[in-house]
Symmetry: C2
């Protein structure tokens, strides 16, 4: 028996924000477990490694923009990676506030171990979809992302 005679219908299971959250968590958790279990990395540390591998000499602020992490999270992830010996801070010559961040050889080594595993995990995940469906999903997500936060344009 419903508590109200004319309730507006809202089933959590069909509510997009909820579904997105649950799906994202399920996916992230699978992947995060891989980073953590095998390499002792948090998701944020992994993200920092990924963009630093892609753009050696990147600054912390830029990392934040690319990964959608706030500056405190970047600062902590960087500190952790440096302590683990995976990342190195090089003082910027033209702006003493910045550091240019680069992976150490050790960091690059584990990065290259992780990449194929991460891609394999992703591949297994999306293998449930045809190529066409994968492309369509990417397209719809882009549209949605733009609608959800028009200000920042990531993709």
């Amino acid at each position: 028996m419903p508590q109200s005679p004319h309730p507006a219908p809202l089933r959590l299971a069909t509510f997009l924000p909820f579904r997105l959250s649950v799906l994202s968590n399920a996916v992230s958790q699978r992947i995060a477990e891989l980073y953590d279990r095998e390499f002792g990395l948090s998701i944020w540390q992994w993200r920092v490694m990924a963009v630093t591998a892609d753009t050696p000499g990147i600054s912390a602020t830029e990392i934040g923009q690319r990964t959608q992490m706030d500056k405190v999270a970047v600062s902590r992830a960087v500190a952790g990676l440096i302590e683990m010996g995976y990342l190195e801070r090089r003082p910027s010559t033209d702006d003493a506030r910045r550091s240019n961040l680069v992976l150490t050889p050790a960091g690059l080594g584990i990065y290259e171990l992780i990449v194929p595993l991460a891609l394999a995990e992703e591949a297994q995940l999306v293998s449930a979809l045809s190529d066409k469906e994968q492309a369509e999903l990417a397209r719809l997500m882009s549209k949605l992302a733009k609608a959800a936060s028009p200000e920042r344009d990531l993709w």
Copy 2:
């Protein structure tokens, strides 16, 4: 200049787990702000209210299954809602460990205020997509959810 001669390609911006996470966060944050700003509710409290409105007399464990919250999170959300006067605990007659949870009139009242706002927010979000695209997105997400965690079947 890439740091490695033959790096495996992984651009965060095209990596599905990352994109899902960013999208989900952007959407959740918009909605969470509404609950919090207007009604002082956390996302978890909102979820508990939603399933309790849908199924009066539900137990904490069932809430956890339906919302994908762990039992500690449910316990805390319930405690908060009770303190705010939005939820009521009725001892179960057949199992003294359980409570049957129901919204109070006050809780039902704000629930019915929130629902249209939440649905409007969702509608605005998905208005970037055609009806057909919305249906397609839902379908693809279901497939993906099944691939990501085949064990629990939510949808």
